[in-house]
Each structure stands twice: as C-alpha cells, then as structure tokens.
C-alpha cells in the first residue's frame, strides 16, 4: 500500500470519486489548472477535464450557492474554500440554505454537498489564515462536520462525506498535511511515511462518519481531541506518562457519544483539547455532555485546553497554541485531582 501524506490522501479520494461517479465535480478558487494552493487537487483537471475540476470566481457565497443548486439537480459537488476563515462569507448559504433545504422542503430537495477547507493555525498565517471555526458549524442543525487526523482517515472520511446525502463541512488540519505534528516547537516535522496511518489503499474505501477512533486505550483519564490536537495529545500523554485513553472524535457532528461516555465512565476523568478559542467553543459542548452523561462517575473537574479568547495572533502563535505543555499540565491536574 502506498504511503501518502494527507494532501495525497485527499487528492486520491477526489480522484477515486471523480472516476467512480460522473455526478461528482470539484471547484473552488485556484483548484483547476493550478491544483489548489495546498495542491489538494493537483492533476485532477488534467486527468478528468476542466468540467470536472475548475476555478471559480473569488466568491465563497457564490461557490456554496452554486454547489447547493448543483446538489439540488442531482450532482455531488465538492467545493474547496481556500482557507476556513473564508467560509464566513458563505455562512448564510450553509446555515440558512444547505442545512435546511431537506427539512423545509419536506424532503423534496436536499444538499449532498461537501465543503473542504484547510483549517487551524501553525503556518504563521495570522488571523485570516488560521481559523478553527468548527463550533460555528456544530451548532447548526442539518450540517455535519468532519475533521480527520491522518491520511488514512482523511481519504476514508472524505469519500464518506462525498457519498453522504447531507451537507458535510470537511475541515482539514493544514498543520498536519505533511506530517503528524506533535506540537513541539523547533523539532523537525516527521513525515507521514513514518506513521502507520500513511498506509492508504489506492482505491475506494470509507471511514464512516460518526465513529470515533480510540487512538490510545487507557484507564486513568479520557482525552478528547480531533485533527492536529490528536497528535499533540498523544505527545502530552507520553510526556506525563499517564494511563490515558485518547479519543480522536473524527467527526463532531455526528458525534460518537457512546465511545466518549463509555470511556469517561471508565476513567472518571476527562480532558478536552482544541485549538479554537475557548469561550463557547466545541469543547464546551463536549464538557457539558460528559458532565450530563457521566456526572456520577466524574472524579475530577473536566478540563478544557484550548486557544485563548483572542483573534489568532501572528507573532504569538506558539503562545496561543495549546501545545503539549499545557495539555500535559491539564492531564496532570486532572489525574491528580482528588474528590
């Protein structure tokens, strides 16, 4: 099986779907001839033709509106938004239209669209190339939100998203496009090829939406994360030497509540980690849910380790980032807390 990095895995998923299903087409800013600013669509226009993979005007609202109309026709459009920060001009289209079309039309029309977008910080992109907007989608009934943490998952989840008949926001942690970043500053990135999850089948396969992945089993504390933070958490757990169970949520809507609850009922402790800012972030929902479902099992306060409640600050991205040190400290606090 070929070793792929995350970009290659995403490219492969798109390639496979273009090949299999004539209703699949791909568009977005610079995705055609150029192959995307992160190269996720590299070669697809050349291979499948300009009608299957093309550049659009710079108009995120227009891109999503076009995708919704195509979806209503019966196609399965995959739209790329160049950076997750730039989904916001299309937010109304996603919330008021894509998410509600099936509901309001009594099931006559629906929106089988996939919106791919690189998200998160770590490339010194400043406040407009570093957004982690997942909470803004999680609150919207009718949307699904998926976040892979490895090449294998990225391909399998993306194929599931494209085949799904509901609108899926597919957020790609750009920080780990090239390798499983553990959050340590100044340490050279390990390439994906050194990681098991870079073994990606060439053909079609799926990873189901709504099924979390227990990436590290443990008994002492449950750590919930997704995307880049999965790797940071693994590193932090190593550092602390805790008997932690690390769960990669993979999709936040639908959320795999059973896996989460089962784990926390077992460990009695829970640390939640994300890069987005804290206040009203997705960690809040996880914390509330865990508290509701596991109250009588909890032996320590649930901890949230997150970005600060500021815009994303260019020069301070390492200070903003909830790196292994902060995660370790939280795990330690959580494990050591005595009721």
């Amino acid at each position: 099986m070929p070793a792929m990095n995350m970009i290659q895995a995403i490219n492969s998923a798109l390639d496979v779907m273009l090949e299999r299903d004539p209703r699949v087409l791909i568009f977005g800013e610079d995705v055609g001839y150029f192959g995307g600013v992160f190269r996720a669509t590299d070669g697809l226009m050349e291979k499948h033709g300009a009608k299957r993979c093309f550049d659009t005007p710079i108009s995120e609202g227009g891109i999503i509106a076009t995708a919704i109309g195509m979806g209503a026709y019966g196609l399965r459009p995959v739209a790329e938004i160049q950076f997750a920060d730039y989904i916001l001009p299309a937010y109304d289209q996603l919330v008021s239209e894509a998410a509600r079309l099936r509901y309001r039309s009594g099931g006559e029309f629906w929106s089988p669209i996939t919106v791919r977008s690189p998200y998160g910080g770590g490339i010194f992109g400043g406040q407009t190339h570093s957004a982690s907007p997942e909470a803004l989608f999680a609150h919207v009934s009718g949307l699904k939100t998926v976040i892979p943490s490895s090449p294998y998952d990225a391909k399998g989840l993306l194929i599931s998203a494209i085949e799904d008949d509901d609108p899926v926001i597919f957020l790609e942690p750009k920080r780990i496009y090239n390798g499983p970043f553990d959050g340590r500053q100044g340490i050279p990135l390990k390439p994906w090829s050194t990681h098991a999850a870079s073994a990606v089948p060439e053909g079609h396969y799926t990873v189901p939406l709504g099924k979390a992945n227990v990436v590290r089993p443990g008994q002492g504390v449950t750590v919930l994360a997704y995307g880049t933070m999965v790797h940071v958490c693994l590193a932090a757990v190593d550092d602390v030497g805790a008997d932690a169970e690390v769960i990669d949520l993979r999709s936040i809507v639908p959320l795999d509540i059973d896996t989460v609850v089962q784990s926390v009922r077992k460990t009695g402790r829970c640390v939640i980690v994300h890069e987005a800012s804290r206040f009203s972030g997705f960690g809040a929902e996880l914390s509330a849910l865990v508290q509701e479902e596991c109250f009588y099992h909890l032996q320590a306060p649930i901890e949230r380790v997150t970005g600060w409640d500021t815009p994303y600050p260019h020069a301070f991205e390492w200070d903003y980032f909830p790196g292994p040190q902060r995660v370790s400290a939280a795990i330690r606090r959580c494990v050591e807390a005595r009721p």
């Binding site: 995708a67 919704i68 109309g69 026709y73 109304d92 509901y103 006559e108």
Partner: protein
C-alpha cells in the same frame, strides 16, 4: 470646476408619502411596440440599449403591436388568463382566512400575476423555477392542486411540507418549483448552480429565478450574476420591480440612479426591461431569454416593471407609508384587465365568459379552502409532532432520537 467644502449626505426620498399626490412620472415609459427585438444570438455588446428601453406589446387599446408580439393561440391565452384570475381570487380568499385566524401569515401578488403565469407557460415541466414568495401564479398556470396550497398555508395534518415551513414558502419539485425560504435572495445562486448542472450533464433543462427589486441589493444577487456570466449558465434571472420593498420605495435599492435592468451591463449579460403588467410582453421576453439559454448562449437578466398593488403581507398596512390612492395611479394598468381586453378585442373572449371564469375559479378556491378547513386550520390540526424531528438529516442521529423520546412522540 465645482467645489463644495461642505458635503451633504443624500437620503433618497420617494415621490409621495401618505397625504401627498402619487407621482409615477419617474417611470420611464415607452409606447408599446417601440422597443427593438434583436435576434437571440446578437452579441451583448450590440444590445446595450435594451436595459434602458421597455418591452411592451399591448397598447392602450388592447392590440398586440411591435416586434415582440408573440404568436400565441387562443387556448394558450385563455389558460394564462385563468391562471392569473385564479391567483387573484385565491390571494383574496387566503388573505381573509388570515384575518379569520386560520393561518399565521399570507402574502398576495395582486397586480403581479403575469410574472409567474406567463413564464410558467414558456418553460417546461423539467425546467426549474426558483421563485420568490410572490409568484404563486407560476404554480397556478400548471394546475398545482389548490388543496396542497391551502393545507400548507393552514399547516394542517395534510401539509405537504409537514408543518415545518412558514405559509406560502412552498416547495413543489414535480411542478418544477424549487423550495422557497424566507431569506431574501439566497436562492438566486442556486438557480445558476442548477442550470450549470444541467449544462454539465449535457441535458437541455434551463432555470428561471426571481428576485424582488429590493433584494437586488443583497450580495447573493451579484454572486449569482457573476457565476451565470462566467460559466454561461442557461438561466433566466428576473427582477420583479414592483416599486416597493415593504415600506421602502425602489429608490432605496438604487432605482433613482439607473434602471434595474442595467445591472446586466456589468456582467456582459443581455438585459431587458419589460412591462410586467403585459402578459404578452412577459411571455415574449421570457421566450427570448429561454431560447438564448437553450441555445447555449447563456443567461439573460430581465427587469419586470410592475407594481405591488396590495400590502406587503398580512403584517403590513401600506397606507402608513404610501398614498392610499397610489395603486390607482400606476401607469401600466392591471395585467388581468389588459389581457382580458386584448382577448375580447381579438374576438375569442367576452365579459360573460370572464364572469363565468371568475365564478368557476371562486368555486374551486372555496372548495379547496373548505376541504382544508375540514382537515383543520392553524392550531386545529397539524402533522404528527414527530415530523419536527424528521428530515433534519436523511437519517436522524442520536440527538434527534433522544430528543424525540424525551418529548414522547
């Protein structure tokens, strides 16, 4: 060299507010028949006068004149007239139903009945209309069951949209009528995407989208036009300029600066300005644009010049912001009266037949309302509460299942 060290903020003002004399001199009229009709494959650069003209067919005597006069058979016109009459009677009846507490909301299209009816007869059942809330005449021209409209408006147990949607925000896929929403303008781009999909699949279906003149100010309008232009989408983009957006006159959307049809010029798309109260002109303009779309010549923008003769909705009282006699001064008349006169003049229609048509439409509407009332009006009957949890996703996730259980339905 003009200079003025003191700037002044300009706030547009309509010609007349309550208590003042209505004044429609601002509407740039042209005699019927005066506007030229280029071939559909004319280059846009040679049609840049059209957005400033006015396509009119019916003259003051009810004759069809000029190059845009379509050749339409008697039966076709009778069907068109019927759709318009039915719409008006339906609107009046449902408005009353609202006053009687039978529904939460309603909007009339009085005076604008030609805008849905004529295009509906130009397009096929496989084409797709992306409507506003004011073109129910599109469905009327296709014999959509009145009972389904009434049940949706009453949100009763037989509501085809399962009680989930505000009255009149219909969806009727089999009739080529896309799902409405209360958000203005946000479906304009869906029409473009849908049309692009048809072209992508090498099908022959085209799309038609409507937007109110007030709504042209939304970014969605521009984005849709941009995509339509760049990808030559086979779509007809229609602005219904009925002079008002709730209490805001058309100048609030830029109507005092140029015509709405002139928006087309920024996209290199042909633009027509059309008498929207002239069934034949609406028909001809739509047919012209449809031929362009079907011939792979791309999109057309049409401004239909019309007038919202009634209030904005059941929540509105237009006498608070415009002269109460303004509707009577509208210079382009009433679309039903004008088509009727034309048909009488052409000799295949009469006052008697018209009265009979009205009576027949009234009977049908009464029957549909009665049937709806028997099922139940707002609050007296509704779909099963479990419908609240359906269709959020294709398959509900645990949240919806648990919440449904919690509510015990």
């Amino acid at each position: 060299m003009l200079k003025n060290s003191r700037l002044q903020l300009h706030i547009p003002r309509p010609p007349a507010r309550p208590g003042e004399t209505p004044d429609f001199s601002y509407v740039d009229l042209q005699p019927a028949g005066a506007c030229r009709r280029p071939p559909t494959d004319e280059a846009e650069s040679r049609m840049r006068d059209l957005p400033f003209g006015l396509v009119r067919v019916l003259d003051d005597d009810g004759s069809a004149v000029g190059p845009w006069a379509p050749e339409l058979g008697d039966e076709h016109l009778k069907r068109g007239l019927r759709a318009m009459v039915l719409t008006r009677i339906f609107d009046d009846r449902m408005f009353k139903c609202h006053r009687q507490g039978k529904t939460s909301f309603f909007m009339k299209s009085t005076g604008e009945e030609a805008l849905g009816a004529a295009p509906s007869m130009v397009l096929g059942m496989e084409d797709m209309c992306f409507p506003t809330y004011r073109v129910v005449s599109y469905l009327m021209a296709r014999d959509y069951p009145l009972a389904d409209l009434v049940n949706q408006i009453f949100s009763n147990a037989a509501d085809p949209l399962k009680g989930r949607q505000l009255p009149i925000l219909y969806s009727a896929r089999r009739y080529g009528f896309y799902s409405l929403s209360g958000n203005l303008g946000s479906r304009f781009g869906h029409a473009v995407g849908w049309a692009m999909a048809s072209a992508y699949m090498e099908d022959d279906k085209i799309a038609l989208a409507y937007v109110g003149e007030g709504t042209t100010a939304e970014g969605d309008f521009h984005e849709a036009l941009t995509f339509a232009s760049v990808f030559h989408a086979p779509v007809i983009l229609a602005i219904t300029n009925n002079q008002w957006a709730i209490s805001s006159f058309q100048g609030t959307a830029g109507g005092q600066e140029t015509t709405f049809a002139a928006c087309s010029l920024g996209y290199g798309i042909p633009g027509l300005r059309v008498d929207g109260n002239d069934f034949l002109a609406v028909h001809a303009a739509t047919a012209w644009a449809a031929e362009r779309a079907r011939s792979n010549l791309g999109a057309t923008l049409i401004e239909f010049v019309t007038y919202r003769a009634a209030g904005h909705s059941t929540s509105d009282d237009p006498t608070r912001y415009r002269p109460s006699d303004e509707p009577r001064h509208w210079p382009l008349g009433d679309p039903i009266a004008r088509l009727k006169n034309h048909m009488i003049r052409r000799g295949f229609w009469s006052e008697e037949e018209h009265a009979a048509l009205e009576a027949e439409c009234d009977r049908q509407v009464r029957e549909a309302v009665k049937a709806g009332e028997e099922i139940g009006t707002l609050g007296k009957s509704k779909p099963g509460v479990e419908e609240m949890f359906e269709c959020v996703y294709k398959v509900p996730d645990w949240r919806l299942i648990r919440q449904r259980q919690e509510l015990g339905v």
